[in-house]
Every structure is written in structure tokens, then in C-alpha cells.
């Protein structure tokens, strides 16, 4: 298959005159990438799978002992870990729902002829292009109880966004929504502009109301691409580390990645943290799979 799609090398080219075959050139391009993947992705993946069955600590010179499934057993029975998962789930739901509502809403507003549409779209995309760490740092300033602009504008006095344990997670989610709604908006906009205009005209002729048209025509046609946006955002939100870590250090915002980081690099429980990483990986795979199944169903309809 791979050779079938390849074009043959121009016999007069420099590469050919140096005696290189098509296959040699293909390898020249592909092998470095594969090597990179093996060294930095696949090898650590497999290596950490091995560690997850041991009591290895990277901080001590002691040799690793094989402990079987003990790490997994203890982790899955640890109520603290489950509370981390619960926090993560809450965070994922709030932030993904927020992003879809805001992103899709803005896309609906932009999906018409308005002046400076291109400029507005580009400006709206800016948050997405910033670094997570930068966003975290300046939202920390925005949230500041005494001089933060958010309290000033909303007239909330010295409301504690980040040090209030009940509010902190939502504050992180709001920042995430601000940053990633443009991503959902961009994909939704692509989906919306692909809906043929004559369908809306046909619906208007068929005397369908605005809501009816939205739920019967717009939404079903945009659903597949919206699903893709949701898959991406769910995966990302599940893995959130930097935003939450920079913004606040409340126990109520300790999402699973932060727990994992602490376990691995503060408590140096290397073996156990490898096991936790695998549990997270399996969960993300499972959730994504459910989405993909659903996406295929939506597409078929």
C-alpha cells in the first residue's frame, strides 16, 4: 500500500544520480520520526508499565522489587484518589459544557455576514494561542481579591476567587472556558458554514420556526464536527495540569494530574505513580472510545 501511493523518483534528479532509490528516500524521511517516537513516547510508555508493578523510588538507590498488582489495588481502594477523580470529573463537565455553550453560541453569532467578520474571528482566537502558564499567571492577577479587575468590574468587593475552596475549581474552569471556547467556536464555525443555505430557505418556506430549524437542521448537521471538538476538549480537560497548578493550590482543585505530579515528583513514589498514570490513560481511552462510538452513530444518521 505504502509503495502504491508513492510517485517514482525523477531519474534526472540529484538524489537519483547519487544512487538513491525511492525506498531509500522514503526511509530517510520516515525513520527519524519513528526513532523520535520510540525514544520519547513508546519506550517510556512501556518502561513505565514495567515500573507500575514495582515499588521503585527514583529518589532512593534501592533496587526495584516486583510487587505485582499491589500498586493498582491500593490506588483503586484509596478514597483520596477517588476524590481526585471526582474533582477531575466535575472540572471536565463544567469546563467542556461551558466551552461548548460559549463557543457554539459565538459561532452562531458569527455565522452571518457582519462587518469585520475576519478580524473579529481572528481576535477571538487569540486566547487559544497563548501559553497555558501565561494565561494562568495573568488570570491570577485578574482574580486578585484586592486589585483584580474582575472584582472591580463585577463590584464583588474582595471576593476570594482562588482561595475560596468552593469557588477555586470554578475559577479554574472559567479560565479554561475563556481560553478554549475559541477552539470550539472555530470548529463549529466550519460546521455551520458547511450547512447549505438552501436548506434554511427550504425550512423557511416550510414554515419552520427558528428553534425548530435550529434543532431539526442546524444541530444535526453540525453535530459530528461538534462531537470532534468535544472529544478534544474532554481529553485535554481530563489531563489539565498547568492551569490548575499555577492558579491555585486548594485541595478542592487537586485534579488527578496534580495528584499524579505530587506522587511522582514530591513523594517520589515512582512505581505507584506509574500505575496511577496507567489508570488515567485507560480512563481517557475508555471515555474517548465512548465518544468515538457515539460520533460514528451521529455520522451514520
Amino acid at each position: 500500500m505504502a509503495t502504491a501511493v508513492m510517485t517514482t523518483l525523477d531519474p534526472k534528479s540529484g538524489a537519483a544520480s547519487r544512487g538513491m532509490s525511492d525506498i531509500a528516500i522514503r526511509n530517510l524521511f520516515i525513520i527519524p520520526t519513528i526513532l523520535f517516537l520510540i525514544v520519547f513516547n513508546i519506550f517510556p510508555l512501556i518502561y513505565s508499565l514495567g515500573y507500575s508493578f514495582t515499588d521503585f523510588r527514583a529518589s532512593s538507590p534501592a533496587a526495584a522489587n516486583f510487587v505485582g498488582l499491589q500498586n493498582y489495588r491500593e490506588l483503586l481502594n484509596d478514597p483520596f484518589i477517588w476524590s481526585n477523580f471526582a474533582i477531575t470529573a466535575k472540572y471536565v463537565i463544567v469546563s467542556v459544557v461551558g466551552q461548548v455553550v460559549v463557543g457554539f453560541g459565538v459561532a452562531l453569532l458569527l455565522n452571518r455576514t457582519i462587518p469585520f467578520k475576519g478580524l473579529i474571528t481572528t481576535l477571538l482566537l487569540l486566547p487559544m494561542m497563548l501559553s497555558m502558564a501565561v494565561v494562568g499567571l495573568f488570570w491570577k492577577l485578574l482574580y486578585d481579591p484586592s486589585f483584580g479587575i474582575i472584582n472591580h468590574v463585577l463590584g464583588l468587593g474582595t471576593f476570594e476567587w482562588l482561595s475560596n475552596p468552593d469557588m477555586a475549581l470554578y475559577a479554574v474552569a472559567i479560565t479554561d472556558i475563556w481560553m478554549w471556547s475559541p477552539f470550539v467556536m472555530l470548529l463549529s464555525l466550519a460546521g455551520l458554514s458547511a450547512v447549505p443555505k438552501h436548506l434554511y430557505e427550504a425550512a423557511a418556506i416550510d414554515r419552520a420556526g427558528t428553534l425548530y430549524t435550529f434543532f431539526r437542521i442546524t444541530l444535526p448537521l453540525v453535530a459530528p464536527i461538534l462531537m470532534i471538538a468535544i472529544i478534544f476538549r474532554t481529553m485535554e480537560a481530563f489531563k489539565t495540569f498547568d492551569l490548575a497548578y499555577i492558579l491555585t493550590s486548594q485541595p478542592t482543585t487537586e485534579v488527578i494530574s496534580i495528584r499524579l505530579y505530587k506522587m511522582a515528583f514530591q513523594e517520589w513514589q515512582t512505581g505507584r505513580s506509574c500505575a496511577l498514570a496507567y489508570i488515567v490513560l485507560i480512563m481517557i481511552l475508555a471515555i474517548t472510545n465512548i465518544y468515538v462510538k457515539y460520533l460514528n452513530k451521529v455520522k451514520e444518521r
Binding site: 436548506l199 427550504a202 414554515r207 420556526g209
Partner: protein, 359 residues
């Protein structure tokens, strides 16, 4: 059912004027065909009546009521577009139900089922009802979109070249079907097409549109036999009317650049002697027989089964004539022809207007 009037409608898109001072009157229950080339403003007219487009100037009246402020939904029209516009991901049944399920005018479920069944039967799409629309052929899709139009009882049916994307066989079949549906429903139809055969075979009345001007309206017969000007003469009829420049000199038509003469004693009104004219003659009114006054060479023969269409070469001009299918003629044969003087239409050479219409 509705009586539709357009009064002095002008539509501009930026600098481009699509319609100029259009007046149109479509009687209740009439099958009106708007005929014109691409870009003549047919679709714009339709969209203005449907309420998808607002006229720059002028009024649209449905049953005598000015509908300027009404949206498409309130005008209660049905529109069949060239590109089908079926709702994707829905079955044929769901597509047919769509206009009935709108919150605006909710129809009881039992009646929906009954109406869908009736429409499916009329259009012979009963076996397709549970199928997804993207698995249909072009002809089936167009039937469904016509079905979606007739399933409600709109006041007017608007059709924008619904048959032009179909193959010839199917087009013919649907042509008859549509005409039957219109007769059974007794509804007002406005049908837009660039195909003069569709216009001739379906219309109670035809309106010929040229660059946003309505050139002539009339029954197919009037349009065919008595075109208002040379544009209509060329636009309607296949092959089109032969147009020959010449003069009338003492009861004979003397063709000026072509240099032949034919007898003409028609009761042309006014003083037309010596005036520069264009003689229009339909191909079937050119008579090919031995002993006729003018000689020509056969340039081309098209066999259409029921008849043959000859292209005759006189000098360097081409004339079309139809002859019975059993006539045996070969290319470059010399033939003689004359015309049926009663069927000749006279046009002023300069303006192109018919002398009969000029009155």
C-alpha cells in the same frame, strides 16, 4: 389558491439590475411558466414572490393583499428548488412530514400520516418512505421535494427549474406528472424554466423574460404563432423560427441580402411597402417540394424519428425546415422550397417588433 400580482417590481443586486419594472399577473389556478435564459431574472422573480428576497421597488400582491412585510412562512407558498434541498439524515417520510410538524401550524398526527400516504401514492414513492434521502437517485429526490411541497396545502406552488437536473426520460415523465398534479389540485403554479419545450407543454400561460424585462405573456399558442418580437421568435420553438431580412414589393417578399423572392399577399396593416422587414417563418411552415420558387442545398439532416429537420443553405444563410421522416434526402442535394404565406410573421427590421403587435 391565490391570485398573484407583481406591480412594477425592480430588483437590484448592487450595481446589477436583475428585474426592471416587472408587471406580472397570475390568475388563480393557472399554470404559469416563466421562460428565459440563464440570468434573465426568473429565479429572482420566484424568490421575490416566495419572500426570500425583497424587491428594491414595487409591490407583490397575493389575493390583492400587499405582502411586503410578510416572511416566507406567512406567505404560505411552496417552493421546489433545482437542487432538491432535502433535509439530510432524515428519511423520506420525515422529509415529507417536516412542513406539517412546524409549531406554527401543527397538524394532528393521524392527518399527517394520511397526507404523507396520499402524496407518496401520487408521486409513486411509497416504497421509498423509510429510506434515507442520501440513498435516493436524482429523480427520486426531486419527487420527494415535490412531495414536500404538495403535502401541505399552500396557496401557491413555486418551482425553480425542478426538472433541469434530471435525464431526458425522467424529465418527460415528471412533466406530465406535474401537469396532472396541477390539474387535480387546481392550484396556482408558477414554474420557472429555460427549456422552451417544458414551457410549451406545461403552461397555461407563458411569460418570456429577457434581461429582467417581461417581453411577452400569452398562451403557448399565442407565443408560438404570434411572437411579439424577434427575441421571442428565437427563444420559443425548437428549432427556432427562421428570420430572414427583406422587403415587401408589390405582393412579393424580396429578401435583401439573400437574393430570393417568395409570394406574400398577407393582409399586413399599414404601409409596409418598401420598409425594411424581417420575415419570420416556422420550420414546419417551410414547404420543400419540387417546382417551388427557391432553390437551396441541403446542409444537414437531423433525423428525429417522427420527422426530419433539414438545414437548408441559401447563399450563406441557413434555414431550418421540417419534413416527414420518410423523405429521403442526402447532404448537398439540391432542393426547392417555398413557404406557407399565412404563417409568416412580419417584424420591423430595426426594432425587431412584430407589426401585428405594434398594431
Amino acid at each position: 389558491m391565490a391570485h398573484i400580482q407583481l406591480k412594477n417590481v425592480t430588483k437590484k443586486f448592487g450595481n446589477h439590475t436583475a428585474l426592471r419594472h416587472l408587471d406580472l399577473d397570475i390568475a388563480d389556478g393557472e399554470f404559469f411558466v416563466l421562460l428565459g435564459e440563464t440570468g434573465a431574472g426568473k429565479t429572482t422573480t420566484l424568490r421575490i414572490i416566495a419572500g426570500l428576497e425583497k424587491p428594491t421597488e414595487g409591490q407583490v400582491l397575493i389575493d390583492g393583499v400587499d405582502v411586503a412585510d410578510w416572511g416566507a412562512a406567512e406567505r404560505d407558498v411552496a417552493l421546489v428548488l433545482q437542487q432538491y434541498s432535502l433535509y439530510p439524515r432524515y428519511t423520506v417520510r420525515q422529509n415529507l412530514e417536516f412542513p406539517l410538524k412546524s409549531k406554527l401550524r401543527r397538524v394532528p398526527d393521524a392527518e399527517i400520516a394520511e397526507r404523507v400516504a396520499r402524496v407518496a401514492k401520487t408521486l409513486r414513492i411509497e416504497h421509498l418512505l423509510e429510506r434515507k434521502t442520501d440513498k435516493l437517485s436524482g429523480g427520486e429526490m426531486q419527487r420527494v421535494s415535490i412531495g414536500r411541497a404538495i403535502v401541505r396545502k399552500p396557496r401557491v406552488f413555486l418551482m425553480d427549474e425542478p426538472l433541469s437536473a434530471l435525464d431526458a426520460k425522467l424529465r418527460e415523465a415528471l412533466r406530465t406528472e406535474l401537469k396532472n398534479i396541477q390539474m387535480n389540485l387546481g392550484q396556482t403554479f408558477l414554474f420557472v424554466t429555460h427549456d422552451q419545450i417544458e414551457a410549451m407543454s406545461m403552461g397555461d400561460k407563458i411569460g418570456v423574460l429577457n434581461h429582467g424585462h417581461l417581453v411577452q405573456t400569452g398562451t403557448p399558442n399565442e407565443i408560438y404563432n404570434n411572437p411579439k418580437n424577434t427575441f421571442v421568435a428565437r427563444a420559443v420553438g425548437s428549432p427556432p423560427m427562421n428570420l430572414i431580412d427583406g422587403k415587401l414589393v408589390s405582393g412579393r417578399a424580396v429578401m435583401a441580402p439573400l437574393n430570393f423572392e417568395l409570394p406574400y399577399e398577407g393582409a399586413a396593416n399599414g404601409n409596409v411597402e418598401g420598409r425594411a422587414l424581417t420575415f419570420g417563418i416556422r420550420p414546419e411552415d417551410l414547404v420543400v417540394e419540387s417546382g417551388a420558387p427557391v432553390e437551396a442545398k441541403v446542409h444537414d439532416v437531423e433525423n428525429h424519428g417522427v420527422e426530419k429537420i433539414l438545414t437548408l443553405r441559401v447563399g450563406d444563410a441557413m434555414l431550418r425546415a421540417t419534413v416527414p421522416a420518410q423523405t429521403h434526402l442526402a447532404i448537398e442535394d439540391a432542393v426547392r422550397f417555398s413557404w406557407n404565406p399565412e404563417k409568416v410573421v412580419l417584424f420591423d427590421q430595426k426594432s425587431g417588433n412584430s407589426l401585428k403587435h405594434a398594431g
